[in-house]
């Protein structure tokens, strides 16, 4: 699975299908702080990602 946070590649070893909310926690974020995209489509934290998917997490609070 290819995982990116704000466009930066993150190493994350995942075997099999994973719930997006679990992936968010595994990468050290909380539901409130990111929006997830799977293969370019915005999804909810209740959706799943497959090993062949590209997952993008976009941090909600950046700026200054």
């Amino acid at each position: 699975m290819l995982v990116y946070v704000d466009g930066q590649r993150r190493q994350c070893k995942i075997d099999g299908k994973i719930k997006v909310s679990d992936l968010i926690v595994r990468l050290g974020f909380t539901r409130e702080t990111v929006i997830a995209k799977v293969n370019g489509k915005v999804v909810t934290e209740y959706d799943y990602a497959e090993p062949s998917d590209r997952v993008d997490l976009i941090r909600v609070s950046t700026g200054g």
Binding site: T30, E32, I35, K37, K41, T44, Y46, G63
Partner: protein
């Protein structure tokens, strides 16, 4: 997951209302709420020239897009975008491109005001002063926005503060024991009516930050999502983290804090003798003899050997 309103795929789960929403229904909800806020607080009543402060980030560009969508057909109104360039290389120069692109695509006049012309660029300032950059930046930015608003003869200036920004500021002002700042930070206008000070309006004040982001992504708004290199110094960060953790554990807490803030605002007794004076240095509005921008600028110039 399916949308709670239709059969489309959901893009967001709103835990406070236990609803899944697709792109169309999220957009509809956000637009409805922003429209209602504008009407309820009379944000454009009797106003013709509305400035829109755009940094190029998700909040300000979403606000510009929404205001154009909701008000763009009203021929009595003119939207004018304003960007302040604080002089932060690799951050603001990038986001300005996003602001410029959206304003151009919507056919909205866009003006850029620079710290170089009215203050000290943040990169230069940070070489000398390593603490509390947000205070300096905020004072200079507000002063420049007010100057721009005067020059462009604006009746109001729209600021892209979302629900999270509002409640963070509310809590920060309580932590600092600065109740007058709570009174000043309102959805429409402040506590002092003055020609020298252009009213701020906050059309996104009832939209949680996460929904602003989802709206921007669903509507293909091309925003800059970089982080200000100096933001780590801010008190806002731990307050934001606290509120996010609370919302995660107790969904709806952010809306409840917002409602508390609105109740406090309604019931606040503001001293009647508050007036605006004119700064002896720049001639701008000030609560003291010299405005905060000029005080800071004088101090910095001395420290930096100008």
């Amino acid at each position: 997951m399916k949308c709670s309103e239709c059969n489309n795929e959901a893009v967001i789960y709103l835990s406070y209302s236990q609803k899944f929403l697709c792109s169309k229904h999220l957009s509809r909800l956000v637009e409805k709420r922003v429209g209602a806020s504008i009407r309820e607080y009379g944000m454009i009543e009797g106003r013709k020239r509305i400035g829109v402060a755009v940094s190029g980030g998700k909040d300000s560009l979403t606000m510009l897009y929404l205001l154009h969508k909701l008000l763009g057909k009203d021929r009595r109104l003119k939207l004018i975008a304003i960007t302040v360039d604080e002089g932060i290389k690799g951050y603001r120069d990038v986001s300005i491109r996003n602001a410029r692109r959206l304003a151009k695509s919507l056919g909205i006049e866009h003006h850029i005001y620079k710290f170089t012309d009215y203050a000290i660029p943040m990169d230069r300032l940070m070489k000398h002063k390593k603490t509390d950059p947000c205070s300096y930046c905020g004072v200079f930015r507000r002063w420049i926005l007010n100057k721009a608003a005067g020059e462009l003869k604006l009746d109001a200036l729209a600021i892209g503060h979302n629900l999270d920004d509002i409640i963070q500021t509310f809590l920060m002002n309580m932590m600092r024991n600065e109740p007058l700042r709570i009174a000043r930070f309102t959805p429409n206008g402040g506590i002092i009516e003055s020609e020298a000070f252009v009213s701020r309006i906050r059309p996104l004040f009832s939209i949680p930050e996460r929904e602003v982001m989802a709206y921007a992504l669903c509507n293909n708004i091309d925003f800059h999502n970089g982080e200000c290199p100096y933001a780590a110094y801010a008190l806002r960060n731990p307050v934001r983290e606290f509120l996010n953790n609370m919302e995660e554990k107790y969904p709806g807490v952010k809306f409840r804090v917002l409602n508390s803030y609105l109740s406090v605002l309604k019931n606040m007794k503001v001293p009647e003798n508050l007036t605006t004076r004119t700064c002896i240095t720049c001639g701008g509005p000030s609560s003291t003899e010299q405005c905060k921008r000029c005080i800071l600028l004088d101090k910095l110039k001395k420290q930096m050997g100008h």
